[in-house]
């Protein structure tokens, strides 16, 4: 065995442990840890694995409901879809690895979240992603965008899971720290959900999948749980390398096995690899495990026990099988060309005992490491400059003099421009379920049973967060993110069921960041409760800072909903001429935190529009009713960029463009009416305006017929009878379609 370093406080600190945690390690063991044991404590108690800063706040979230089968705490959450089917889903961050190595970082993010889903016995069918970069004027961020998109595509396309939607943001706050959040959803028989259990004393523990190499050691503790600085490039080797082909074979082998009854429990080896998976399985079952590292399939020669335990090599699973089924289980993996070996047994003494080369290198009690990891009550403080930032005297903001120019500029802005350049690099069709893919409010995916029988059920999915709103008002902005994701789902006609969240924040050791995090979590709780969408899974990514500059608080929210029968659904674009356009919801004089204010006035200020959750829930019910009763064909919510951008999107995003003529009557400042971002509004197109207006009145939702679809232009007339906008669809499309490719083309000319 190679020589191991001296174990002391200095080494513990290097491993990211605090002095108190180091004391605690020695107390739990009653002795000094071995080098391998120190490594285990370091990863298991890292922010990434233990959620120590956020745990006490997350406990307050609503996690139950009649639809919830499994809430947070498992690999992913599960909700019932009826007829014995369940959806399993989660979103997770892979921010730091993607900044260091964009292609591999984002690819392994996709691979990791997909493993979380099939680990539970579900077939992964749909991926979303939420990715955020600095400005595209910066060559580094053009490179990062291209790398991240290539990584998501190369993994998702090859592994055979459709990428059906997502969101992309560009803002200078991500210049030193991009965000890559990956979401996946799978379908499973509700009776056949598998958990990370290691029960049944004497049962074999089986390692399956890729061989273990030296990649990704301390990815969770060093890369994901610290800020970026000048040493970040040196951390490149802590990024893992993905192999989607192996994962595809692993999916098929695991799902084949899970149809039988040989498997007791299963866990993927993600963050902190073999260590985390074995501890979690034993902890969940109140058992112990003894393992022999010599049997672990190894990619490199001469690996130490420390390396074998902490490697984050991808595409690996740990299974506990029924005793006597060792050969039948391994045979399935072998047929798919994968390694599978028995590496240990379940024991009854609650100890994790690991041997290597005849020596015992780890012998520690499972529970104090896994279940009783540290929990911190970090101080919080409202950022002193926030109140100042929220002040916005609209009277002092010069009114928009060129509404047409403003609309074209907003559509050309990469945040609002068409993302087709991105999603055209993803396979949206594989597994034959995609009813609506990228480019609309929410994706819609038809559900099949495990045997391939199609059902009338479809899942609607949307992922959302407006970081500008969250920066100016962490609680209100987060409520708005939940409301928007649920509204997008409702716009297809689906009933929002539940949510998953990925909380991307700065350094929690700063009280201002902790305050943002607490506000956001409380906001999620408030909105989830009111909208009936409990939190069933989630992930926290902290330390998103570089040189002390944090990102905007970015609580990414993904909501899923159920639509049945899916044959009736609404789309987010105009489909034909001559339909009535109805605006649901009220437009108020609100420009705080708007895209218009940022782009046209260079101001990131004011209080963003507040969500009325009661109105929001009635609105969602109205949309579902309209689709069910058949008088609603088009529903598109107004969000960033306001009503004018929403109308332009309705005109442009269908298979064929359809123009519109709209007249507005509200007596507020014209720029607020066109570009304000008042929440809770939806543009609807219908052949039966009377039905929409009557149903809206019954639901106490303000509604007004504002125009008709048709023609080759988008024309908007104001209450002063003046034409505010009169732009050809061609011109609008040029601005919107060119926003991203035009900026990336600069890369080519620089090469």
């Amino acid at each position: 065995m190679s020589e191991e370093p001296r174990i002391d406080l200095a080494l513990a600190r290097e491993h990211g442990l605090t002095d108190e945690e180091w004391e605690r390690v020695q107390k739990i063991l009653g002795r000094m840890p071995t080098y391998s044991e120190l490594g285990i404590f370091s990863v298991m108690w890292s922010e990434h694995c233990s959620y120590k800063s956020s745990k006490m706040h997350l406990k307050g979230l609503p996690t139950t409901g009649e639809q919830v089968l499994l809430g947070p705490g498992e690999n992913a959450g599960a909700v019932a879809l009826g007829d014995g089917l369940a959806a399993v889903f989660k979103i997770e961050s892979h921010n730091h690895p993607s900044f260091v190595e964009p292609k591999e970082g984002s690819a392994t993010g996709v691979g990791g979240i997909i493993r979380d889903i099939f680990t539970m016995g579900a077939r992964p069918i749909a991926s979303l992603n939420s990715i955020r970069f600095g400005s595209l004027e910066d060559p580094l961020h053009r490179h990062l965008l291209e790398g991240v998109v290539e990584g998501i595509g190369s993994y998702g396309n090859c592994v055979g899971v459709a990428t059906v939607g997502g969101e992309t943001t560009f803002h200078p706050c991500y210049s030193g720290n991009i965000l890559v959040n990956a979401f996946n959803l799978g379908i499973v028989d509700a009776e056949r959900i598998f958990l990370a259990k290691a029960s049944g004393i004497g049962n074999p523990v089986i390692y399956a999948g890729s061989k273990t190499g030296r990649d990704g050691i301390h990815g969770a503790s060093l890369l994901a749980s610290a800020e970026f600085d000048d040493t970040t490039d040196a951390k490149r080797p802590t990024v893992q390398v993905g192999d989607p082909f192996t994962e595809k074979c692993l999916i098929e082998a695991c799902l084949e096995l899970m149809r039988g009854d040989q498997i007791v429990g299963i866990q993927d080896m993600g963050a902190a690899g073999l260590t985390c998976s074995s501890f979690e399985m034993a902890s969940n079952s109140g058992t112990g495990i003894e393992m022999d590292l010599d049997r672990v399939p190894q990619r490199a020669a001469g690996m130490t026990p420390y390396e074998l335990l902490l490697s984050e090599s991808q595409e690996r699973m740990l299974l506990v099988a029924r005793a006597g089924e060792e050969d039948s289980v391994c045979e399935v993996f072998h047929r798919w060309g994968l390694d599978a070996v028995v590496v240990g047994r379940v024991t009854g003494d609650g100890q994790m005992v690991v041997r290597f080369g005849g020596d015992t290198v780890v012998d520690i009690p499972v529970d104090p490491v896994a279940a009783s990891s540290p929990e911190l009550d970090r101080p919080t403080r409202e950022p002193p400059e926030l109140r100042e930032r929220q002040k916005l005297d609209l009277a002092s903001v010069a009114p928009e003099e060129d509404p047409e120019g403003a609309l074209l500029a907003l559509l050309d802005d990469p945040n609002l421009a068409s993302k087709a350049w991105i999603w055209q690099q993803y396979d949206p069709w594989v597994q034959g379920g995609t009813i609506l893919g990228s480019g609309g409010d929410a994706a819609l995916v038809r559900i099949k049973r495990d045997d391939g029988t199609p059902t009338d059920k479809a899942i609607a999915l949307s992922v959302d967060c407006n970081p500008r709103h969250c920066f100016l008002d962490p609680r209100g902005g987060t409520i708005a993110a939940v409301a928007e994701a649920a509204r997008n789902v409702a716009c297809t006609g689906a009933r929002p069921l539940a949510l998953t969240n990925c909380l991307n924040f700065g350094n929690p050791e700063k009280p201002e960041i902790m305050w943002q995090l607490r506000e956001a979590i409380e906001g999620i709780g408030e909105a989830a409760e009111a909208l009936g969408t409990p939190v069933v899974s989630g992930n926290v990514s902290l330390y998103n800072e570089t040189h002390g500059t944090p990102i905007h608080p970015t609580p990414t929210i993904a909501v899923i909903g159920l639509l049945e029968p899916w044959q009736r659904h609404a789309v987010s674009h105009f489909t034909k001429s001559g339909e009535a356009i109805v605006l649901l919801g009220e437009s108020r004089e609100e420009l705080g935190g708007s895209a218009w204010l940022a782009l046209r006035r260079g101001l990131e200020a004011g209080t963003p529009p507040q969500v009325d959750l009661a109105h929001e829930q009635r609105l969602h019910g109205l949309l579902q009713l309209g689709v069910r009763e058949g008088w609603l064909h088009t529903a598109h919510d107004t969000s960033e960029g306001g009503l004018a951008v929403a109308l332009a999107e309705c005109c442009l995003t269908g298979p064929e463009r359809v123009g519109a003529e709209v007249s507005l009557t509200e007596s507020i400042r014209p720029d607020a009416l066109l570009f304000g971002e008042t929440a809770g509004r939806v543009v609807v197109a219908t052949s039966d305006a009377a039905a929409v207006l009557a149903a809206a009145e019954a639901a106490a939702i303000p509604a007004r017929e504002v125009g008709r679809t048709g023609g080759e232009t988008l024309r908007v007339v104001g209450p002063d009878d003046r034409v505010w906008l009169d732009l050809s669809l061609e011109r609008l499309a040029q601005a919107r379609d060119g926003g991203i490719p035009r900026r990336l083309a600069t890369v080519e000319s620089e090469k």
Binding site: C249, Q425, V430
Partner: protein
């Protein structure tokens, strides 16, 4: 019986099976790449899309060595219908069952989207449900889809009527703008000389239900069912 081959890394195998079995009500099953024989009742062989062997080395380059491919070659030589889409097309080219190669797309990106295909050959067993000049709307999704063949062989391919589909505008015009990937002469699909082996980059199995974007794929898969008497 339709035999849909399953290589490690095949992704559209179950979609192809679904299209034949559930939508077209014809018996179909997945055949493991390691089998050395095709089932005796095989009436047609389908090579689905995906990333066989991860597309490592080169798309389709490894799959041609799979044991089942020798049986597929014998089946094709005896006149049996063989259809390969996307990765299946790449495997058929690598195996020598079809001429030419598929190179990386012109812009070097993976691309997905709806494509329009002009039918250039309307004949059993693959395109009897169309007329020459018909336009089909079928998705593409690939990184290596630029069909390439030497100039003289290309002329020969054309003269023999082996070009089955070309990328076109929605109105049927074959233009440079309608070429998504840089394929020679907008070629999207070809047959062998005898006409019983076809390869195409577009995915008919992803266009089989009107509610899920369109069902023009049935014009191709349905022709095959007509040809071999697919009903159970």
């Amino acid at each position: 019986m339709f035999s849909v081959l399953q290589f490690p890394g095949s992704n559209d195998d179950r979609d192809m099976e679904f299209a034949l079995k559930t939508v077209l009500d014809s018996p179909a099953r997945l055949i493991w790449h390691g089998d050395v024989e095709l089932p005796a009742d095989t009436r047609a062989v389908l090579l689905p899309g995906g990333f066989s062997y991860g597309d490592y080395l080169r798309a389709g380059a490894m799959a041609r060595f799979s044991p089942v491919m020798a049986a597929v070659k014998r089946f094709a030589d005896a006149g049996g219908p063989v259809l390969g889409t996307c990765n299946g097309f790449q495997i058929l080219c690598e195996s020598g069952l079809l001429p030419g190669v598929l190179r990386r797309n012109r812009d070097l990106h993976f691309i997905s989207g709806w494509s329009h295909l002009r039918v250039e050959r309307a004949a059993a067993p693959f395109t009897s449900r169309s007329q020459v000049g018909d336009v089909l709307r079928i998705p593409i999704k690939h990184g290596e889809g630029a069909y390439h063949l030497g100039a003289s062989e290309l002329a020969e391919l054309d003269a023999n009527g082996q070009v089955a589909f070309r990328y076109c505008e929605p109105d049927g015009t074959v233009s440079a703008a309608a070429n998504p990937n840089g394929s020679e002469a907008n070629i999207a699909g070809i047959t062998n000389r005898a006409g019983n082996v076809i390869g195409l980059m577009p995915h008919p199995e992803h266009a089989v239900e009107a509610g899920l974007g369109g069902d023009d794929g049935l014009r191709i898969l349905g022709s095959l069912v007509d040809a071999v008497g697919g009903a159970r």
